[in-house]
């Protein structure tokens, strides 16, 4: 029958969870589950996994914009039906993978992907794979920048690195449109982060009706929000808050809690660049990314300053780092003063930590390198 609004609880099914994953395993995956011996990257975007049973599984990885239409998903389904027994999967970086059970099936698959026009193959090995990103202006209410547009602009510029494997190690690039950092910005080789630079405005007509004031006050990491009386547009006194502008660093968390404290601004908002984070435990422990460029303007539709900054860092790293060295390992080995020098990035007070455990990031040593920063 379908949903009956007159009897909303009738026939309601709940708590069934996701479908069981095994339903969607290719036959070869099901057969060789837990039996894989080794793998090879045959060329950019093409993997081969060999099982102890002797079976070989070939995977072709393609780029995906993450924000996609059902028309494109149906195209993926057509490809999977034609080449891969109707199975496909998505990776943890939102690329799409098709799997086939013999080497002979790889080239016809690649040919059809090429024919489609928006299914570029790559994203494997020591290159630059997809950018993990967020909602931006397409769906979110707290962003300081867009997501999909900035990612498209950056990936167009880095495209050759998606389809090749010429980096010292894989470079993970991520974007978040505000510092809630939905996703991987705090732990990526290169991170693009939407930032505000103006304190929130207070809508005195709304605030006592739409906000739990104690929540807005507790939302501030720096104690800049305090209870106060406000005057609304009718001249009446209302319960409200004040923001100590000297203490506010524009995180926007009070707006998350209180709709009457908006802070988005066309000129104030823009993008910061952080670098040097990593997740894996390989060689060094996981690292947070560090802020190296505190602000670049929002310049839709192609954000030229941001694109240029990311490309510059990628190229200097690619030229200077040793094999296997992640961007953060490289920067720490050469020293951050040398990172700024080699990348020709101006250093400012904005990159010096002044929050809580800041002291641990200052240089309590005579060990440094002479760079152009020392006049």
């Amino acid at each position: 029958m379908g949903y009956d609004p007159e009897n909303p609880m009738k026939d309601r099914i709940t708590d069934i969870g996701p479908p069981h994953f095994e339903r969607f395993f290719p036959a070869l995956v099901k057969k060789n589950y837990g039996k894989w011996l080794y793998h090879e990257i045959l060329k950019p975007g093409v993997l081969k996994h060999v099982s102890e049973t002797g079976d070989e599984l070939y995977t072709v990885r393609i780029a995906c914009a993450r924000l996609i239409s059902i028309e494109l998903i149906r195209d993926y389904c057509d490809i999977a039906d034609k080449h891969a027994d109707g199975i496909m999967r998505w990776t943890t970086r939102n690329n799409v993978e098709f799997m086939v059970d013999s080497a002979a099936k790889v080239e016809p698959l690649l040919a059809d992907l090429k024919k489609h026009g928006s299914m570029p193959v790559g994203g494997t090995g020591a290159g630059i794979s997809n950018m993990v990103h967020t909602q931006g202006w397409i769906h979110c209410h707290t962003p300081a920048t867009d997501a999909s547009g900035v990612v498209k602009a950056i990936m167009d510029e880095l495209f050759d690195y998606f389809t090749s494997m010429t980096m010292p190690a894989q470079v993970r690039v991520a974007l978040a449109c505000c510092l809630n950092m939905c996703g991987a910005v705090h732990c990526s080789d290169i991170a693009v982060l939407g930032v505000h630079r103006k304190p929130p405005m207070i809508d005195q007509d709304l605030i006592s009706n739409v906000c739990e004031l104690p929540l807005a006050i507790a939302a501030c990491p720096l104690g800049a929000v305090k209870p106060a009386k406000g005057i609304n547009s009718e001249g009446k006194e209302v319960k409200s808050v004040t923001v100590n502008e000297e203490k506010c660093m524009f995180c926007g968390n009070c707006y998350t809690m209180c709709p009457a404290m908006p802070l988005a601004d066309p000129d104030g908002d823009g993008i910061a660049i952080l670098v040097g984070g990593k997740i894996s435990n390989s060689r060094s422990m996981p690292k947070f990314s560090k802020m190296v460029i505190p602000f670049l303007p929002n310049r839709p539709p192609r954000w030229p300053e941001v694109v240029a900054a990311v490309k510059n860092i990628v190229e200097v790293y690619a030229k200077d780092a040793k094999k296997y060295e992640r961007l953060g390992e490289w920067a720490e080995r050469i020293g951050w003063e040398m990172f700024f020098e080699k990348c020709n990035i101006p250093f400012s007070d904005k990159c010096v930590d002044d929050y809580r455990l800041a002291y641990n990031t200052w240089r309590t040593s005579t060990q440094f390198k002479y760079t152009s920063h020392i006049k």
């Binding site: 309601r12 995956v29 998903i73 999967r89 931006g136 510092l179 995180c251 707006y255 894996s280 390989s282």
Partner: protein
């Protein structure tokens, strides 16, 4: 016919990377509201601010989360996105799909939504992007009745768990990440659908310390596969790498000439503990000093494999910066067994102990990582019934501000100045 001019967005149709703008325009031929998505986004590109109103509380009966409500702040100009709610659908473990189920979902979304999606949200959910409030219950009805899929999580609850590709297609998976992810998701459906926590709680499953699902950075409870015994070495294959028969790192660096593979430089010298050496033609690993970082295995996948005694490390408390700063997860349990047959009893005991404590002690909107910072790691370890061991710290504390308990000190805290004065008069 285009309903709105989009001169700025049109510029994002060129270039080699798949264009979301071209895709939206293609969808707009079938779904008129996609023109309004483009129209409103174009306005945001012009104004350089978002045009979505703050918040939005919508959902389906029986659940306290799963749908993110959203309303346009310019609904008169873009009526197609006046309501533009997002439906989080729980994805299957490691995101394998059949074209059959995807087509079913596409048909449903063509009928009742915008036709646009996110594959996938950062937490793992399949995201259906943009529909109206009256469609929510019918969508949920069709998802559960016809397709057999449930909603994912949102709000102060267990969010949708996710995992790496694991043993399905990787030789390094030290436990069944898919099975663990599915089992935990099914066991805690109530905690996922009906918010009962101080704040959100995420669980992610990685098969090895390469951590392909980034659990150590992106989950409150991070389950990372590892092993206890020796790395398995195939000396013949080691010789193969040295001879140049096999490409190092499975060929990951083949786009550039890095010279001939040098096991000394590329493996032994990069080992973080220096526990490897060549004795003649034989590769030796002092496994007692190995921290299982994966580097040597990553570089020589045909020659080296994780040990056979496999399980997982449990780390707790990762989060993004808000409020008190970003945190990676902290090692709490160095090694537990991950038994698929027994449905992961050790892991469940740990998860439930975390929740029991945090649900009463956690403050409003305080992630468990922040709760642990507030009470201190020693207190959290004792809550979890764990003996402190050196593995719990990167280094011992350097300040001397040590708490002792009354019962740990001879004679306790109760004493009188009068007695003290007998030996030490003023």
């Amino acid at each position: 016919m285009p309903k709105h001019d989009t001169p700025l967005l049109d510029q994002l149709e060129s270039g080699p990377w798949p264009s979301f703008v071209s895709d939206l325009k293609r969808m707009a031929k079938k779904k008129d509201e996609c023109w309004d998505i483009l129209g409103q986004l174009e306005l945001s590109y012009k104004d350089k601010i978002t045009h979505w109103k703050h918040g939005g509380i919508v959902g389906v009966f029986g659940y306290g989360g799963g749908i993110v409500g959203r309303y346009s702040d310019v609904p008169d100009r873009f009526p197609g996105v006046a309501h533009f709610h997002t439906v989080r659908v729980n994805q299957p473990s490691s995101k394998f799909y059949s074209s059959k189920i995807l087509r079913q979902i596409c048909d449903l979304w063509e009928k009742r939504g915008s036709g646009m999606t996110n594959f996938h949200g950062s937490t793992g959910d399949l995201v259906l992007l943009g529909t109206t409030t009256p469609q929510l219950e019918p969508i949920f009805y069709d998802l559960t009745h016809d397709i057999g899929v449930d909603l994912g999580g949102s709000g102060g609850n267990l969010r949708t768990p996710s995992c790496c590709v694991g043993r399905a297609r990787c030789e390094w998976g030290c436990y069944d990440t898919q099975a663990a992810c599915h089992n935990i998701t099914m066991t805690y459906q109530d905690e996922l659908h009906r918010p009962a926590f101080p704040y959100k709680f995420k669980i992610k499953f990685s098969g090895c310390p390469n951590d392909c699902v980034a659990s150590i950075a992106r989950s409150d409870c991070s389950v990372i596969g590892t092993w206890k015994d020796d790395i398995r070495i195939d000396q013949k294959a080691v010789a193969g790498y040295i001879k140049g028969d096999f490409a190092p790192n499975a060929g990951a660096h083949s786009g550039r000439d890095w010279g001939k593979f040098d096991i000394q430089k590329e493996v032994i010298a990069l080992c973080p503990t220096g526990c490897m050496k060549m004795a003649g033609d034989t590769l030796k690993i002092d496994n007692a000093n190995c921290t299982r970082c994966m580097h040597c295995i990553n570089v020589m996948p045909r020659a080296l494999r994780p040990g056979k005694v496999q399980g997982a490390s449990i780390l707790i408390g990762a989060k993004a910066p808000i409020l008190d700063g970003a945190q990676f997860a902290t090692l709490i349990f160095p090694f537990i067994e991950m038994s698929t047959e027994n449905e992961f009893p050790e892991l469940k005991a740990i998860i439930e102990k975390c929740w029991d404590w945090w649900m009463t002690e956690g403050k409003n909107r305080e992630r468990i990582g922040e709760s642990i910072q507030r009470v201190g790691l020693p207190t959290f370890l004792s809550v979890m019934g764990v003996e402190p061991i050196p593995q719990h710290v990167r280094e011992p504390r350097s300040n001397p501000y040590v708490f002792w308990k009354d019962e740990e000190v001879e004679g306790g805290f109760a004493r009188t100045v009068k007695e003290f004065r007998i030996k030490h008069n003023l």
